[in-house]
């Protein structure tokens, strides 16, 4: 009892102190509105005002990656199977999406962010956290910076964004999400309690269906109710994570904005339209995936030592098999041969539904360290570099392996 009281005091101390420190930070979360769909609508006036859905083919197992706000009115949501979307909105315009274009637009937007602060943490192509603490003298308050960026994105890129401004990442993200699209929400340190209390628990960072159901079981529906739970109870029921929840429910979040999110692995996977048993087709697909992984590694200037093969069989049983190389690599062939060997070893008596390859244990490459006596590898590096150059200049598909020709 005594101990608990002591702990409680200690925590309250932490809470007060953290609140004081946190209210000093100025964090902006910017989320592009229906990004992929908006880019398509921007570039093709005929799509404007119409339900546009970007994703896989409607007759396949693909999912919706973005739905325009017009499409959302029909109930179409991201991550929904395409077939379901099609049932909800048969008149929709379905597009496969052009990720290269989206990446380019995202880069353009990122360049605007970086004019205001180097502390930009991209979460995806369409959203990012910015820490503008201490930028007031240069660019004005966080609110002013947020408005300026929103305006510039609209003027220079031709897209709308929703912006949230707060003193931490959790609140900023909530704020940007609350008045989408084209929203602008500021949560001041004094408004936190009011802002959070009515929101459903699912809005808490990390609370998914499972935890939400658990909390509902206790009659807890909104964040305000979570905030009334003592730390001990949350910790007891949810472990270390309950402790995080305790702080989040009070709007406390210490996570810093980390520029250039550190990549732990680079991978690519695909779900077949029809389950595949043919080993040759699996190997061909594997090569295709590997080329993408290799290219992404090289773009990021990373090399990795562990190659992981992922297989999901038609009964949904999923296995992964990994091999570690002696020397970290970013070369397509080395990754492919390693992954192919792993695939050969598997008994693919069953048809395969999903195939994936990942390279992990990453480190940055030699960063320009020149070597001697590397004729074999040098040749392969030069070849790969030349192929990358062609792809950069003439676009994906400009050059490919004979095996991948259709």
């Amino acid at each position: 009892m005594c101990y608990n009281n002591y702990r409680k005091h200690q925590f309250e101390g932490v809470v007060k102190k953290t609140m004081a420190e946190n209210s000093l930070r100025r964090i902006i979360h910017i989320d592009m509105d229906a990004f992929y769909a908006a880019v398509e609508q921007r570039d093709n006036p005929q799509l404007r005002g119409k339900p546009v859905i970007i994703g896989g083919r409607t007759d396949s197992r693909g999912v919706v990656s973005t739905a325009s706000y017009e499409a959302r009115r029909y109930g179409v949501r991201s991550a929904m199977p395409m077939a379901q979307a099609y049932r909800l909105c048969p008149q929709g315009i379905y597009l496969p999406g052009d990720h290269r274009k989206y990446r380019a637009v995202s880069g353009q937007i990122g360049a605007i962010y970086r004019e205001y602060t180097p502390l930009v943490e991209p979460l995806a192509l369409d959203e990012a956290f910015l820490d503008v603490t201490g930028c007031e003298k240069l660019f004005g308050t966080a609110e002013e910076i947020g408005r300026k960026m929103k305006e510039r994105i609209s003027k220079e890129v031709g897209l709308t964004a929703s912006v949230g401004v707060a003193h931490n990442k959790f609140l900023a993200k909530l704020a940007s999400d609350i008045k989408k699209p084209n929203g602008f929400v500021i949560v001041g340190p004094e408004e936190v309690r009011e802002f959070l209390s009515g929101l459903p628990v699912g809005r808490l960072w990390g609370v998914g269906e499972k935890t939400a159901a658990l909390l509902q079981g206790w009659g807890i529906k909104n964040i305000g109710q979570v905030a009334r739970l003592p730390m001990e109870v949350l910790e007891e029921k949810l472990g270390a994570w309950g402790r995080q929840l305790y702080f989040l429910a009070r709007g406390i979040d210490d996570r810093p904005v980390i520029p250039d999110h550190q990549v732990k692995s680079v991978g690519h996977e695909t779900t077949f339209d029809l389950d595949v048993q043919d080993k040759e087709l699996l190997l061909t697909t594997l090569l295709d995936l590997t080329l993408e992984v290799g290219r992404r590694l090289r773009k990021k200037g990373l090399v990795g030592r562990t190659v992981t093969l992922k297989l999901r069989y038609s009964d949904f049983k999923t296995i992964t098999r990994a091999a570690t190389l002696e020397e970290a690599t970013d070369l397509d062939n080395r990754i492919y041969y390693t992954a192919a060997e792993l695939l050969e070893r598997e008994d693919t008596g069953q048809a395969v539904r999903l195939l994936g390859v990942t390279v992990s244990k990453l480190c940055s490459g030699d960063e320009g360290q020149i070597s001697l006596f590397n004729q074999g590898r040098e040749k392969e590096e030069k070849l790969t570099g030349a192929v990358d150059g062609i792809l950069d200049k003439f676009g994906d598909g400009a050059i490919t392996r004979a095996r991948l020709l259709k």
Partner: protein, 367 residues
Amino acid sequence: MKIVCSKDNLVNGVQIVQRAVSSKNTLPILSGILIKTEGDTLKLTATDLEIGIECRIPVTVIEEGSVVLPARYLGDIVRRLPDTKIEIITNQENFSTAIKYGKSEFTIHGLAAEDFPLLPDIQGQQSFSIKADLFINMIKQVVFATSVNSNRPIFTGALLTVENDDLIMVATDTHRVAFCRSLTNGVNSQLNVIIPGKSLNEISRIMNNDDDEIKMTITDNQILFEGEGICLISRLIEGQFPNYQQVLPQGYKSKVKINTRELIEAAERAALLARDGSSVIKLEIKADKLMISSNTPDIGRAYEEINVNLVGEDIQIAFNSKYLLDALKVIDTEEIYLELNGPLSPGVLKPVNNDNYIYLILPIRTV
């Protein structure tokens, strides 16, 4: 077996052979040290089958015999023994071994000596001797440039060969090449072997008696080093060592004379702010100034300036600071020459007034 010896001799012997004890537990007996009486000495042997070390220490043999004792415990025990007469008694029936000192004793369970692999009997196809200090100096100047990555085994060893009656040792990890020449005579000109870096490091550790000679005997796949009371057998690395002569630049565009100490200190300071991983430091040589700079974006930058003597063009080049410092630390002359041929060509470090050491260092391409 029953012997009496001094603590110092015993510690010395155990420490010399201990490094050859296998760290992998493939064969349990290899985690032990074989001790065996031989005349009025005790012979200690350890091997991991890649390298084997034998050492003889003077003892008083009361009863002949042999036993294998666990290296880890033996090493820990003998180091802590009091400085007194030590008695080792093995029951040859069950290999239980007592280590007695004063009124106290350890009893250790030993293993049968017969189970311990015999070190190969190296019969000299080729052999020659060299002064220990000379050879160890060569090792120290070269072996750090071997690769620690076992990916390409050739680069984990140093080449030992003969050029115009001189003994040559060369090592490279593909990012630098260290080359050392020693004037010796009577060396067989056929010599051309690649010795694992680890074995050479052990040689320099255990055979460091300046005045001794080291005798080398070479077979197709092994090399035997013999010194005073010690011998080491190592396997040789198979394969063709790359053509190092071809990569040594013949001329230079810029040649700088630098005070070794000043360069070491400046490079060490600059390395503090060189980015982790590649440890890049930039060198800019302009007129008679060498500027060294480094930069870690999150932390800050370093700038060092030293006076040098430049012949030829001004130049900018970037190196991995570790590669530069490794060599500077083994060069014992007051001044060095740094010869450069442009920002993307290898740089060469040479001691002033000494043609017998060449260190080639490949630059880092900076955008």
